[in-house]
């Protein structure tokens, strides 16, 4: 299982967990399984067409999937998958 790191705004879907273990051979499959385990989370990450939203980044082993094979990027069991939206705080 890959380790998926969950950003603060999406932890309401993962019972507050900052990381969850999810099966998936590529990002597309992993996101589908993430949604199955934590309903409602995928629509925050992906648009209606299934593409990753423009304001969210997905990294597999610290590499941006946009520079790899996007949703078809392979995921290995030991990989860390990070979901990274922009954050804005700083006051």
């Amino acid at each position: 299982m890959a380790t998926v790191r969950i950003p603060t705004p999406l932890r309401k879907f993962t019972q507050g967990k900052d990381e969850v273990s999810i099966v998936g051979t590529n990002v597309r499959e992993l996101l589908a399984n993430l949604e199955a385990a934590h309903p409602g989370i995928r629509e925050k990450i992906c648009d209606e067409g299934g593409a990753v939203r423009r304001f969210v980044n997905v990294f597999v082993a610290d590499e941006d999937i946009r520079f790899l094979d996007n949703l078809d990027t392979a995921v290995k069991d030991a990989d860390e998958v990070s979901i990274v939206p922009a954050i804005a705080g700083g006051r």
Partner: protein
């Protein structure tokens, strides 16, 4: 060298205060501090340039006074920035200036990035929320903030510190990282880090360096290419 560079800090709050302290520790000698806000007692635990006697005073003016007190040539600009102001800010900079974006306004981070690319200048951009921090250094020709984050996220995904909370140490660490990135840019030692997003996951003790490539579809590419074709545009 950092001592020779004009440093402009946008925002003198949770990120700006530690960034200014970091710049001081790094040897900065000239800073401009831009902020419109006043010091509140609830700020004091994390906005460490201020004390109880400063409550009600303009942050930019107090911060500049604190920097001057240790021998730094610091000036305050009391003004509320909006995204359209950023071109004017960058147009007024010295050629080798570095802008540190330390506000909590998402649109300003994108505007600062875009203006830096348009004007061929250097900037560092940061944010912190909860136990997480982001920091990126942008220089002419490098990947930029918009290469990493394509667009402004909706409000539901960017809760403010007031809504989601922020640990004072998280903005502190992130602010110091911003200062270090500025020092690295100024001293010419940023090649390995420029254009890469540093994600500080303080809850898990992990610091990641993410991406670092110019995104082919980045709207800044046209500007970036034209700036690179102009001799001496970059510093």
């Amino acid at each position: 060298m950092i001592a020779d560079v004009q440093l402009v800090v946008l925002g003198a709050g949770g990120l700006g205060c530690p960034a200014l302290l970091g710049l001081r520790m790094g040897g900065a000698k000239r800073v401009v501090i831009v902020d419109h806000d006043v010091v509140e007692s609830s700020n004091l635990h994390r906005q460490v340039l201020y004390d109880l006697g400063d409550v009600g005073a303009r942050k930019a003016e107090v911060a500049a006074a604190r920097m001057r007190a240790v021998g730094i040539d610091a000036t305050a600009q009391v003004r509320e920035l909006v995204p359209d102001d950023l071109d004017g800010v960058f147009a007024a900079l010295e050629p080798d200036a570095i802008v540190l974006e330390c506000t909590d306004v998402p649109a300003l981070k994108f505007a600062c990035n875009d203006a830096a690319v348009r004007h061929g200048r250097r900037t560092v951009i940061g944010a912190a929320l909860g136990l997480r921090g982001h920091a990126i250094a942008v220089a002419p020709g490098s990947a930029c903030y918009r290469c990493v984050f394509e667009a402004l996220p909706p409000a539901v995904l960017v809760p403010s510190c007031a809504e989601a909370g922020v640990l004072g140490t998280a903005v502190g660490v992130t602010g110091f990282v911003l200062a270090q990135l500025a020092c690295a840019l100024a001293d010419g030692h940023a090649d390995d880090i420029v254009g890469r997003l540093l994600e500080l996951a303080l809850g898990s003790g992990i610091i990641r360096t993410l991406a670092g490539r110019v995104r082919p579809q980045c709207p800044c590419n046209t500007t970036r290419a034209s700036r690179l074709s102009v001799p001496n545009a970059a510093t």
